[in-house]
Assembly symmetry: C2
Homo-oligomer: 390 residues x 2
C-alpha cells in the first residue's frame, strides 16, 4: 500500500503545514463519479486510531461534516487545537480506541490532503480549481470504500457521522449493505432542503463575489478570498446554533465595553465571536473546497437518487441503525430524521431513534450534551454485544 | 413649510431618479440624537395619501421596515413596482385613504431622500459616509415626530409598523404617549436578539469585506459594493422566509433544466430566486444606509433604554395597542411579541394580541395572509368607532 505524507499550504499567507497519512486510491481502475467524470490514482488523506483486530471486525468509520477533517481525535496540524471529536473518540472514551480501530478520512473534495480543487492537474501543472469535477455525497462514500478496503476492512463495525457525515453514513447503508454492521446518523437528513440550499448559496455567492477569488484561480496567483470565505463561514455558523443558545451564550452583552460605541466596531460579544469564527476559519479551509462540498450537500437527495421512494433505499438491509436529532436544531430538524426512521421501519430494519432535548442547536453533537453521549454510548455497546454473540 | 423634491443617484450605475416630497426639519432648534450628535435643518422624505380632516384626527403614520421606504402605496420611482403595502393602503382598502390621511416617511438614515450617510457634508462638500452619526430607532422616531407636527398633526389616529417599523411604533407609544390614539406592532420585538444581531453582522461584514466599499467612501469615487450588499440582502432574505415557505415555494425544484448541472450555476430555483433578490436590491438601496439601519435595530432594547423594566415603558399609556405575530416567523418569534403584551397588560393597557397561524414566515405581513388582514382591519375599525364615540 502506497502511503505518504504531504505538505500543503493554508490560508491567506500560504503557510506550509505537513498533513498526515495519504492513501493513493483507484490505482488499478478509475473511480467513476456521478457526474460521469473518472478519477484515478487519487489521494485520500486519513487518520486512524487504535488497531484493527485479527478478523478485521472492529473498524469504525467516522465521516466528518462540511468543514471537519480527518483530525477527529488528534491535534490539528494547522490550528494546533484538539481533534474535533476528542471528547468522544479515544482510549476509554465512548468510541474506545482500545477496542475499536477508528478510520477518519478527509472527504473527497476536501482541503486537508484529499483529492480536491487544490490538486495539481498533471496536464497543466496548475491546480484544477473549478475544473475539478463536481462531486456528490455518494462519490465521497465510494472513495471511502476504496480506502476502507485498502486498510483491510471488508465489513465495518459501524459507520458514524453527523450532519454531512450523517448523509455519508446513510449512503454507506444504502450502497454497501453487506459491508456495514451498523449505521449512526446524527443531526442529518435524507435530502438537503430549500432553506439549507439557500444558506449554502449565500455562502458561495460571498466567496464568488470576492474579487480575490479570481474566478476560482486564486491559488495560481497566491491570492485568497479571505473576506468572502469568512462571511460564508459566519453565515453558516449562525445556522449551527440555536436562537436559545445564542441568547444564553451572548444575549445582548457588550464586548469589552460598558456602553454601545455608536459605531461599527464589534459592540456586542456575538459580533466579535462571529468575526473570530470567520478569521479562524480562513486559516484552515480552502474557498474552492467550500464551494465543492456545499454543492455536494445541496445535490444530496437519497430518495431521488434511488428511484424516488426512501424506503427502497434501505430494502434488504440487515444493519442496525441509530438516528439521533436535536430538538433545537433548525438546520436539520427532527422532522427530517423522522423521515429516515419511517423509511427504515417501512422495510422492517432494526432502528433506534431518539430526539435529544437540548437548546444547543445543530452543533450539539460537538458539545458536552450528556443525553446525546449516553445514547451514542448505549448504541455502540449494544451493537458490540450483538456482534460478540454472533 | 419648506418642501421640495430631489434627484438622487441609485445603484452601481449611479442612475439618476427623482424622489418625491422632502420636508426640512429641525430648522429652529437642532435635534439631539442618542449618540449626543445634533442635527439641524435636515431633510426627511415622505409620501402622504388621502387628506387630513378638519380636526386633524385622521392621520395614520406607517413606519417601514429595514429596507422599505416611503412608497407604501404608490409606484416606486426606482423599481417601477407597486408600493410595498399597496394591498393594505389605498382608497377603500384596509387602511382606507378615503377616510385616513396616511403619512409614510423614509427613516432617518435611509437612502430615498431622508438625511443619511449619502447626504453632503457642507463642510467638506462630500458625502458624510461613515462620518454620519450612528442612529437609534428612537432617533428615527424623533425625526418622524417633527415631520408629523410640520404636517399639522398633534395626535396620530394610529402608528402602524411591522418588523423595524413595529419597533418604531412601540417607541412612539413610549415617547409620545399623548400623541397616539393607537399603536399597531406587527412581527416585532422589544429588543433585537443575539441571533438577529448575528445575521445583521454577517450582512455588514459582507459589505465591508467588499473592496468596492472603499472604507465607506465608495460614493466619492463613484464605485459601489454591489457584491457585498447583494450577499447581505440574500442572507437577510432567507431569514424573512420560513423553512416551510421555502420548501413549498421551491423545494428542490430545478431552474430551467431537467437535471443538475454538476456545476456552480443556479441549478435550483431557490438559488436563482435568491440571486435575483440580491441583484434587484443593489439597484435601489445604499450600502452605507444598510449599515446604519441594521445598527439601529441591533441597538434597540426598549426596556434597557427605559431603566430595565419593559412595563415601565408603557406606564400611563391610554393608547389602544394591537400586537400581531406570525407562527412561522423565527426572526421575530411570537415569544418576543408576548413579552410586549405582558408588559402592556402589567400596566393595564388596552391591548389586543393575536398570533396568526401561517407558514409564510416573517414576510407574511407583506403577503396575502387573510387572517392577518382581517385582524388588522378589525382593529382599525374598532379604534375608528371608539374615536367616533369620543
Amino acid at each position: 500500500m502506497e502511503q505518504t505524507t504531504v505538505t500543503l499550504e493554508f490560508g491567506p499567507s500560504y503557510r506550509k503545514v505537513e498533513v498526515g497519512a495519504i492513501a493513493i486510491l483507484a490505482q488499478d481502475a478509475p473511480l467513476k463519479l456521478d457526474s460521469g467524470a473518472e478519477i484515478a490514482a487519487f489521494p485520500l488523506a486519513y487518520q486512524t486510531y487504535g488497531r484493527l483486530n485479527a478478523d478485521a471486525s472492529n473498524a469504525i468509520l467516522i465521516c466528518h461534516g462540511l468543514t471537519g477533517d480527518q483530525y477527529v481525535a488528534s491535534t490539528h496540524p494547522v490550528t494546533g487545537k484538539p481533534g474535533w471529536w476528542e471528547s468522544v473518540v479515544g482510549a476509554g472514551k465512548i468510541i474506545d480506541t482500545d477496542r475499536y480501530f477508528v478510520i477518519c478520512p478527509n472527504v473527497l473534495g476536501g482541503c486537508m490532503g484529499s483529492y480536491g480543487p487544490k490538486a495539481i492537474n498533471p496536464k497543466t501543472k496548475k491546480p484544477y480549481n473549478l475544473e475539478f469535477p463536481v462531486l456528490t455525497i455518494a462519490d465521497m462514500v465510494r472513495a471511502q470504500k476504496l480506502l476502507v478496503e485498502q486498510l483491510g476492512v471488508t465489513k465495518l463495525f459501524s459507520v458514524i457521522g453527523a450532519s454531512m457525515g450523517g448523509m455519508q453514513a446513510l449512503v454507506w447503508g444504502s450502497l454497501y449493505k453487506d459491508h456495514v454492521r451498523s449505521v449512526v446518523g446524527i443531526a442529518t437528513a435524507p435530502r438537503h432542503m430549500a432553506q439549507n440550499i439557500a444558506f449554502h448559496e449565500v455562502g458561495r455567492q460571498a466567496i464568488m463575489a470576492d474579487p480575490e477569488w479570481k474566478e476560482g484561480n486564486y491559488i495560481n496567483e497566491k491570492r485568497f478570498p479571505a473576506g468572502g470565505l469568512a462571511v460564508a463561514r459566519m453565515t453558516a455558523h449562525v445556522t449551527y446554533l440555536s436562537q436559545e443558545a445564542l441568547s444564553r451564550k451572548f444575549g445582548r452583552n457588550l464586548q469589552d465595553r460598558e456602553r454601545i460605541s455608536y459605531g461599527f466596531e464589534a459592540d456586542f460579544r456575538v459580533e466579535s465571536y462571529l468575526r473570530r469564527q470567520g478569521t479562524n476559519f480562513v486559516e484552515r479551509f480552502d474557498a474552492n473546497s467550500y464551494l465543492y462540498i456545499t454543492r455536494a450537500m445541496d445535490y444530496f437527495d437519497l430518495a431521488a437518487d434511488n428511484g424516488g421512494r426512501l424506503s427502497d433505499v434501505f430494502k434488504g438491509t440487515r444493519a442496525e441503525y441509530c438516528l439521533m436529532s436535536f430538538s433545537s436544531d433548525w438546520l436539520f430538524p427532527t422532522s427530517e430524521t423522522r423521515e429516515i426512521v419511517h423509511a427504515l421501519n417501512g422495510v422492517g430494519a432494526n432502528v433506534s431513534f431518539v430526539e435529544i432535548p437540548t437548546d444547543k442547536g445543530h452543533d450539539a453533537f460537538l458539545l458536552d450534551e450528556p443525553r446525546f453521549l449516553e445514547a451514542l454510548a448505549g448504541f455502540i455497546r449494544r451493537v458490540g454485544k450483538s456482534a460478540d454473540a454472533n
